[in-house]
Each structure stands twice: as C-alpha cells, then as structure tokens.
C-alpha cells in the first residue's frame, strides 16, 4: 500500500513538473504588452528591451524556469502589473480563494447528495418514470452548453423567485442561485455515473449468487450493489473538492462573485501577464493533485487495486 502511494506520488510529481514547465513555456508566448501596462506605446525600443531584461524575461528559458522554482519555494508567485499595480500575486489571490471554496464545497456537497440519490433511484427504477425524467435532465445538462442554461437560470431565477442578480456578501438570498447553478453539472455527472455503475453491478454474477442465497432484492441493492458502485465514485471526490479552489469561471462572472474564477477572466481581459501565469499554474496543479488523491482513495477502498503498468487512466 505504501509503495503504491509512493509510486503514484512520484508519478504525479513528474506530471506536475512537466505540466508546469509546458505552461511556463507557453507563457513565454504571451503578448508583451502584458508586462507593461499603460505606458507601453510610449516606451522606446531600448526602454522596452531594458525593462524586459530587468524582469528577467530575456534570459534563456531554463534560467527563467529555475528562477521561477526558486521564487516558488519562497512562496513568491510574482507581482501583478496591471490589475493591482506592484502588489504581490499571492496577496491578490488570497482573499478571493475563500469565496470560490465556500461556494464550491457547498455545491459539491449538494451535487453529491442530490446526484447520488438521483442516480441510485434511477438505477433502481430503471426504465420507469423517474429514470426517464432523470435521463432527460442529464441530456439537457450535457447537451446544452452550460454557458446557455446558466444564463437562463439567472434570467428566470431572479424574476420568478425574486432573487438578487448580483452577489452580495451580506444578503444570503443572493447566494442561492449561484450555489445551485454550480451544483447542476455535478448532479448530472454523479447521477449518470452512479446509475451506470449500479446497472453494471446488477448484471454481475455475484449478484446472482446473492439472490440464490435468499437475499431479498432490497438488501442486495444496499449491501452489495450500492456498496460496490460507490467505490469507483470515490475517485472523483478529491478532484471535485480541489477544483473548488479554481472556482467556476463562468458562474463567478455572471454573478460577480469575487472568487478565483472571476479573477482569471479579469486578468485576461486586462492583460496582466504575471497574474495570468500564476493563476494558470494554480488551476493546473489543483487538477493533478486531485487526481492523485482520488487514486489513493480508490486504493484504500478497493482491495483489488495494484498498480498496472502503462495505464492511461481516466
């Protein structure tokens, strides 16, 4: 078990390192205006070159990468140029994380409870009314772009239920729509997966044996089918929780929630390169860590897991 954790950890570390390097390289392609702010056009060529040199942007890429890791170990993600002049990136980001996380965790919990329950009921009443309704819901969420249906939820949710459009820390009513919106995709996803796992389990041979033992169908569902189907669901949990850090770009923007996602949109529109770079790195790392933790969780719950060579998982 420990060896598995170690192996998986080093795998993730390598992937993380490669991802960071690749992203870093991509960053070198960012438009140069992003480093200068308003005065860009007024600077002469020599001044631009000098400024870039001072910022260390003319050094060879491996030197830049090295510097980056050194700074990272000290907790320095660079300094914002345009968004908040001369404020360290970490300071800009820090107050925004809690917003994303609170919404994210609430939405994840809601999605888990609602989604898993829905999926279980759908599997049990397969082919009947609830299953069909649930399937229609999943189809809608998956087919129609989220950008579209979330818009409509904001539109009609605010008018039908008399809810405020924009987020306000002090008005609880303004929290409802964004939180529910955030969970919709998760509900569809979890419902679909758990239903699929359960239906798969129901066809397995050991379920036949359980029936031949004389177990009533209800007990089989709970003790064997559900228990077995929930295990593979575990792998999605850490990623879901961690992704709350990144926040939902679209929803935060729609409701003006001062979170991480909204921040990314802002800095892209304002062209603040250090901010863009830092945020992109955070978002990528969060994903990798989530997958790693998910695999560990799976190894804990499923006694059969051994590390298989060369598996392109997920």
């Amino acid at each position: 078990m420990f060896r598995y954790v170690l192996k998986r950890f080093s795998q993730s570390l390598v992937t993380l390192f490669i991802v960071v390097t690749v992203v870093f390289m991509l960053m070198r392609l960012l438009p140069l205006e992003g480093y200068f702010g308003d005065g860009y056009d007024k600077l002469s060529e020599e001044q631009k070159v000098a400024a870039l040199d001072r910022m260390g942007l003319l050094d060879p890429w491996y030197v830049q990468l090295g510097n980056f890791y050194v700074k990272l170990s000290r907790g320095d993600l660079g300094t914002s140029i345009i968004y908040r002049r001369d404020v360290p990136v970490t300071e800009v980001i820090a107050p925004r994380i809690p917003y994303s996380m609170y919404f994210g965790i609430f939405a994840t919990l809601l999605a888990l409870i609602a989604g898993l329950s829905l999926g279980v009921f759908m599997a049990r009443k397969k082919g009947r009314g609830l299953d069909k309704a649930g399937t229609a819901y999943i189809v809608l969420i998956n087919a129609v772009p989220s950008a579209v249906y979330l818009l409509f939820i904001q539109l009609y949710g605010t008018s039908l239920f008399n809810l405020p459009i924009l987020f306000d820390k002090y008005r609880v009513k303004s929290w409802i729509l964004p939180a529910i919106s955030l969970s919709l995709g998760g509900i569809a996803g979890y419902a679909m997966w758990i239903r699929r796992y359960m239906v798969d389990e129901l066809n397995k041979d050991y379920i036949k044996l359980a029936r031949a033992k004389g177990l009533p169908e209800k007990l089989i569902m709970v003790r064997h089918v559900m228990r077995n189907a929930f295990v593979p669901m575990a792998q999605y949990l850490p990623a879901a929780i961690l992704s709350t850090i990144s926040g939902s770009i679209y929803i935060e923007s729609l409701y003006s929630i001062p979170g991480m996602g909204g921040l990314l949109v802002d800095v892209i529109q304002r062209q603040d390169n250090p901010m863009v770079q830092a945020l992109v790195l955070i978002f990528s790392s969060v994903g990798i860590i989530g997958l790693f933790l998910g695999d560990i969780l799976m190894a804990i719950f499923d006694p059969r897991i051994k590390l298989v060579k060369g598996e392109g998982s997920r």
Binding site: A143, V144, A147, S253, G312
Partner: protein, 310 residues
Amino acid sequence: MSDSLFEFADFDENASERIGYSDYSYWRSTVKVFLKNKIAVILLVVLSILLIFTFIQPLIPGQNSPTKIHIDPATSVQMRNRLPDSTFWFGTNSIGQDLWARIWSGTRTSLLIGLIVGFFEMLVGITYGALWGYVRKLDRVMTEVYNVLNNIPTTIILLLMAYILRPGFKTMIIAMCITGWLGLARFVRNQIVIIRDREYNLASRCLGTPAGRVIGRNLLPYLVSVIMLQTALSIPGTIGWEVFLTYIGLGLPVSIPSLGNLVNEGRLIMMSPELRYQLIFPTIVLSIITISFYVLGNAFADASDPRNHV
C-alpha cells in the same frame, strides 16, 4: 397411424445444418435498432430539416444580409430592436440588423467550426489512439504524453491560446482542435487494447484471416459506435466552448455572426423583457442543434453495439 410411418426416413445431413441458419447483417440490424428509438428518429428528422434549411436559407429570394444595418427610410434612423414582424421574422438587434439572417448565418458559422474541429478530432484522435493501442512499444511514451495533456484543464488551454494568438476564426479552430482529440484517442486506444487480444481475433488470425478483414469485421464495428458517439458529441461541445469564449471576450469578432456571438449579444439586453427575443431565438436554435446531436450520437452508439441487436 399407418405402419408405413415406421419406416426409415431419408437422412439428409445438410437439412440439419439449415435449421440453424441466421440471416444477420450488422448494418441492417444497427439501422433497425436505431429506428426503434422514436425520440431519436424524431430528432433526426427535425435536425435534418434544420440543417438543410440552414444551408439553403441564403438562396431563398428575399433574404437579407446578416450584417446589413437596416435604416428606416422614413426617419433615416436605424431600425433597432424591432420586435418580430412580417418584414423581420425574428426582429432586429440593437443596431438594426436582421436577426433572422444573423441566426442562420451564425448557425452556419458555428456548424462549420464544429465540423472542422470534429473532423480534425476524428483524424488525429483515431490515428493517435490506434497507434497507441496497437503498437505496444509506443504505449509507454504515448501514455505519458496523454497524462500530461489531460492534466492541463481545457479551459486554460483555450483561454491561453485565444489570449496569445488573439481571438478569431482560425484561432478558435486551432485551439479547439488541439484540445479536442484527446478524448477520442483515449477511447479508440482502450477499445483496441481490449479487442486486440480477444480470443476471437486470435482465432481469426489463426484461421488465416487477412489483417484487413480482421480489422474490418472484428474491430471496426466496435470502433464505429465509439467514434460516432464522440464525433456527434463534439459538436455541442465546440458550440459550448464558443459561447464561453465569446463571453470572456475571446471569441469571434462581431462582424462574423455565430451562435456564441448572438447569445452574448442577447445576454447584454436580457434584463428587459420585451427585448428578450434576441436571446431566446438563438438559444432555441442552439438547443435544438446541441440536444439533437447529443441524443442522436448516443442513440447511434447504442444501436451499433452488437449486444443490442436482435
């Protein structure tokens, strides 16, 4: 009962073989199962009509250009925000352009993007996936590449690409192509790995079946289902990303109407109830397209699964 019945009957060896004759054709069965799915058939008809109309529309006499700004001859003022009437079937937008023309033009653009991206995804995805699954030596390397690419969130890549290359038609296509093929490659690879070593393929090879036939009759039917599903799903996917990117400000320029543009234009004025039609019309068209592709893709994938065949 006459005693003559107790004489021996003629024994025809071949007659007994005929009892178990099976009249099975893979594609015929696929179509049959598909047609049983009523919702899918209805959507297929609806979508076909919509698609045909989308491309015929400019050829119909009396259609306006999607970019032309209409000016009221009486007042010399732009015909802004007109509600749907007999001249403008979907009304006009905030600068006086014919929404009906814009929507169909936008649909064409979005579909074009979707098709190009989908085609590219198929090409690259299948090739990469097939090599990945079939050639054992490449498996390790390709898996690592996949893991790295998969871990970078698509959102980030798209945003970055659009940010770096500047928003535009070509950028959007390039960016979506880069991120889209991974999923299909993974499916194709998994299928090939599973099927390649199955006994019936080994048996086929032992019997001397040429490789082309093994691939064509054993592997292909499984792959078709997965490929159709992925390709059909990629169209709603591309449209979704397009709407998202346009919202962020990294989408197509306003001069090229697209479903993403239209939805976002509609969003800007969605708070005034009487102008909501500008959001609703593009949304309806978009929804019909995305839902149809999604449902049809899944329905075809189910129908082409031999296990569902009669």
